[in-house]
Every structure is written in structure tokens, then in C-alpha cells.
């Protein structure tokens, strides 16, 4: 029974944590401008993420250590500096965007400008991390995050042609604006596969004391949870394609997004959209702030755990505090939340090689993984992910400059 409970929890965590500012913004932009056509990019990103989560979860369950811990120990401090700096910068930007998402939702709900909500959002997040435990942060936010299922309801109510959605799983050439199309494809991949997700997942496996007995739970929840999470994100594309595309509305501000669910579900849809935006972005805010603190603490060997009182791991606790305050600054100073989201998703896509290439080495290291090293399926998938990450690294910035607006 305990195993089933853990499994259900794992699946719910993946689904409830799937949507956040990046996936909502990029999926609705894609739906508005290209209909269902970019569904394949989301499916590809979801499959990549499922493999990466399964592997980092297995790495931690087998070794009892986090991905960051092994990154530092196996590759040395000089190499470690590269993923550390890259992940720090990218995560700070994504965190700022998530705080922006919460702030925009609160602006739409109250009429008070989003700039005023960034610092209060960061403070509430900080208070939860300061006083809460890992279980509270992980499960609480993902349970509440299930409100995002309303996108599925919205898509259903719009009666889309599901066969056309399915057909879009196969990539096709765009009829117009090719750079914009590829730019959005890259943004969607960046929004789906964020380094903070697998760093957080790997640290969580250690926080929850996973062992090899959890390998089945890990595998099933990574696969099933991401399958449903991915489908949920695809319904965002579907809703945007049905609501925005026929009216030729292009999403260039969060105000338009509010129409998304208002159209199929009326006033309740509008309220539920705000709740979804607010809760999912807040959940991601907590996870990213923790992921950054985990990476710093584990990389430098400080004491760390969300379950310890803050004065037992002072550097760790001060890290997430500082990160939250720093990330609240851009929005407070008036940065455009949607522009911030788009830039951070492109940079996330470009940042992947520094973490996925070392993962390929670690997953085949018998000293670390003993007999649980990658088999041919996982290795093939990981090699494809590495190649994809290198392609994204090369293409992301030029596409941001050419297709970003």
C-alpha cells in the first residue's frame, strides 16, 4: 500500500508541478500563432524531461547522492564552475519570470499593478521555505497545482478536432514566419526541460531517503506523471489555438492570456485561469529558490536540507533568501513579465549542454551506478538529448534575436 501511495504522490507531483509561467506563456503563444502545429515540440520536450527525471532520480536512489554532489566530485571544482554559473544565471531569470507570473495574476485579480506584488510574493515564498519542510513544499504546491487541470476542461469544452491535434505530433514545416516558428519551438523546449527541475528532483530523492527500492516508483512516476503533465500543456496549445488563432490575436502581453479560459468557461474560467497562473508560478518559485540553494550547498559541501531548522544550515537558508529577493528585483523595477519569460526560456534551452553532457558520463559510471548504469534505451535517449541540447545551444540566441518579437 505504501508503494502505491508513493507512486500516486509521484505522479501527482509531476502533473501538478508541470505547468508554470514558461509552459503557459510559450504554449499559448504557439497556439495563437501556429494553431496545433507546435504540439510536437511540447511532446518532444516532455519525453526528454521524463528521461532526464528518471535518470537523475535513479542516480540519487542508487548512490544516495545528488546530481550536483557528483558533478562536483567526479568532475572537479574547475569544471563544476561552468554548470554552477550557467544554472545560477538561468534559474535566477526563470525565477524572476515565475514571480512575474504570480504578480500578473494578482494584478488581474486586484487591479493593483504587478510591480507591487513581486516583493510580497518573494516574502511569502521565503516564509514558507523558512518554516516549512520539504514534504510541504513539494506536495502542497503540486496538490494545489492540480487546479491547472482546468485547461483540460477548457480544451474539452471547445470541441477541438483531436485527430488534428494528434497529427501535429509529427513536425511539419510552417507556412509562414519560419524564424518565429523555430523560435517558439526552442522556447517550448526550454520551458519543458529546465535544469532546475532535475536538480530539484535529484535533491528531493535524497531528502526523501530514496534507495534502490524506489526505482520502480521513480520510473513509473517520471513516465506517467510527465505523460499527463505533457498532455495538460498540450491542452494549453489547444485552447490558445481555438480561442486566439481564429481571431488573429497574438499574445504580446499577459492581459490577453486572461481571455484563454474566459472564452470556453465564462467568468469561472477567468477566475480559474488566475488561480492556475498564481498557484503554479508560486509552486515553481519555491522549487527554483530551493534548487539554487541545493546546488550551492551541495557544490561547496555545506550542510543542507529543507527539513533542518534554518540555523542548522545557515548558508543554505540564506542562499534561498538572497535568491528570492534578487529575483524579485526585475519585476519590482518594472521589467515586462512576458519578455522576461521569453528570454529566460531561450537561455534555458541554450544552457542544457553543461548539465546533460556530464549526466551521460555519470549514468555510465559503474563506480557510481553499479549494476544500475544506463541500458541501451536510456543511453540512446540521453545521446539524442545531448545532441538536441547542442543544437539548442547553437540555435537559441540567434533565434531570440531574429524571432523574439
Amino acid at each position: 500500500m505504501k508503494k502505491w501511495g508513493e507512486l500516486a504522490l509521484g505522479v501527482v507531483t509531476c502533473i501538478g508541478g508541470y505547468l508554470e509561467i514558461g509552459s503557459i506563456a510559450t504554449a499559448s503563444q504557439a497556439g495563437a500563432e501556429f494553431g496545433f502545429q507546435l504540439v510536437w515540440a511540447l511532446a518532444l520536450g516532455t519525453v526528454c524531461l521524463a528521461f532526464l527525471l528518471e535518470m537523475t532520480g535513479r542516480l540519487s536512489a542508487v548512490s544516495g547522492r545528488t546530481f550536483t554532489d557528483l558533478l562536483r566530485e567526479r568532475f572537479g571544482v574547475r569544471f563544476f564552475l561552468a554548470p554552477l554559473i550557467v544554472v545560477l544565471v538561468v534559474s535566477l531569470l526563470v525565477l524572476a519570470a515565475e514571480i512575474g507570473g504570480v504578480s500578473v495574476a494578482l494584478q488581474m485579480a486586484t487591479g493593483i499593478g504587478f510591480r507591487w506584488w513581486a516583493i510580497p510574493t518573494a516574502l511569502v515564498a521565503w516564509l514558507l521555505l523558512w518554516r516549512g519542510t520539504f514534504g510541504l513544499v513539494e506536495q502542497g504546491t503540486s496538490m494545489l497545482g492540480l487546479v491547472a487541470l482546468v485547461f483540460g476542461v477548457g480544451a474539452w469544452a471547445l470541441h477541438p478536432q483531436w485527430s488534428a491535434v494528434g497529427a501535429a505530433l509529427v513536425p511539419s514545416a510552417p507556412g509562414h514566419d519560419r524564424t518565429r516558428y523555430w523560435y517558439l519551438a526552442v522556447s517550448i523546449l526550454g520551458a519543458s526541460v529546465s535544469p532546475y527541475l532535475y536538480l530539484f528532483y535529484s535533491a528531493g530523492a535524497v531528502e526523501d531517503h530514496w534507495t534502490v527500492e524506489h526505482l520502480a516508483v521513480n520510473r513509473v512516476s517520471a513516465a506517467v506523471g510527465n505523460l499527463f503533465g505533457g498532455i495538460l500543456a498540450i491542452t494549453v496549445i489547444v485552447v490558445a489555438a481555438m480561442v486566439f488563432a481564429p481571431r488573429h490575436i497574438r499574445v504580446d502581453g499577459y492581459e490577453q492570456l486572461a481571455l484563454l479560459l474566459g472564452s470556453p468557461l465564462g467568468r469561472a474560467g477567468f477566475a480559474l485561469f488566475l488561480a492556475t497562473l498564481c498557484i503554479t508560478c508560486f509552486g515553481a518559485t519555491l522549487e527554483i529558490a530551493l534548487a539554487v540553494a541545493y546546488m550551492l550547498a551541495q557544490g561547496f559541501g555545506w550542510e543542507w536540507s529543507e527539513n533542518l531548522p534554518p540555523d542548522h544550515d545557515a548558508r543554505f537558508s540564506i542562499s534561498y533568501t538572497a535568491v528570492l529577493l534578487l529575483a524579485a528585483l526585475p519585476i519590482t523595477l518594472g521589467a515586462d513579465p512576458l519578455a522576461l519569460t521569453n528570454i529566460s526560456m531561450t537561455l534555458t534551452a541554450a544552457s542544457l549542454p553543461v548539465t546533460v553532457v556530464p549526466l551521460l558520463v555519470l549514468m555510465n559510471d559503474r563506480d557510481v551506478m553499479s549494476r544500475y548504469v544506463n541500458g541501451w534505451i536510456s543511453n540512446t535517449a540521453l545521446v539524442v538529448i545531448v545532441l538536441l541540447s547542442l543544437a539548442l545551444f547553437i540555435a537559441a540566441l540567434p533565434l531570440q534575436l531574429l524571432g523574439g518579437s
Binding site: 548512490s63 562536483r72 566530485e73 571544482v77 518554516r131 561547496f300 559541501g301 555545506w302 531548522p309
Partner: protein
């Protein structure tokens, strides 16, 4: 214990103290070479300045600037005699008290001067150890 590769198994490994608290990583190692005697590992070095030297001159300069800006006077480097090593596995356990380590002075300073002053938080006093 069997073979031990210094770079592979010891350098950058997680250190824990006698009470199993994480106290940093093996940032560098010092070998002692006596006349007529085989070389042996003498000291484990832990701390930012040691790490900076391993990364490169630019990092050494950067850490000088940061320390000057933060008015940090302590050198922040701990030297742990290799004889203190008790156990080597996923982590290296050393027979020292983490509270006495120079390299952990920022941890203690933050705990005393920042974290415990935010009194409504979960504090160690009265909470679980």
C-alpha cells in the same frame, strides 16, 4: 582499505565531521615528502582561497576583491591532518568538530548574527537537533 586514487576518490569529496555534519569538501591535498621516506598525504585543505587557487588566477583575484569588499579578515582555510580521517565512502568522515573549523566561520557568523535574529523561524533552540 584497498587502492585509493587521490584525484578520483579524495579530491572534491564531501567531508563530514565527528557528528556527521557536512563541513565542506576536500578543496586540496598536501603531500609530505621527507628525505628517504615515501611521500604521504599529510593535510586536507578546505576553504574558499584554496578552491580559488585550483580554479585559476582570475578566481584568486576575484576572491581578493570580494573579501576586501566584504571586509573579511579571516583567511577561511582549514587544515585537517590526514590522520584524522576515520572513514571513507560516499563521504569522508574526519574526527574534528565542525564548530572549530576556520573554513566554517561564515556558517557560524550567519547562524548567530542573521538566522537566529529572525526569531519567528524554526530555531534549533527547543526544536529537533
Amino acid at each position: 582499505m584497498g587502492r585509493l586514487c587521490l584525484v578520483h576518490d579524495v579530491l572534491d569529496a564531501q567531508l563530514v565531521d565527528a557528528r556527521q555534519r557536512k563541513i565542506g569538501r576536500v578543496d586540496d591535498l598536501v603531500l609530505a615528502v621527507g628525505e628517504g621516506q615515501p611521500a604521504r598525504v599529510a593535510v586536507i585543505l578546505v576553504g574558499g582561497p584554496v578552491r580559488a587557487e585550483r580554479i585559476g588566477r582570475w578566481m584568486v583575484r576575484l576572491s581578493h576583491v570580494m573579501r576586501a569588499l566584504g571586509r573579511v579578515r579571516r583567511n577561511g582555510v582549514s587544515r585537517i591532518a590526514f590522520e584524522r580521517v576515520r572513514c571513507m565512502g560516499a563521504t569522508i568522515q574526519v574526527e574534528v568538530d565542525g564548530d572549530s573549523l576556520e573554513s566554517d566561520h561564515i556558517e557560524r557568523w550567519l547562524a548567530t548574527n542573521v538566522v537566529r535574529r529572525i526569531s519567528f523561524g524554526r530555531s534549533a533552540a527547543g526544536a529537533q537537533a
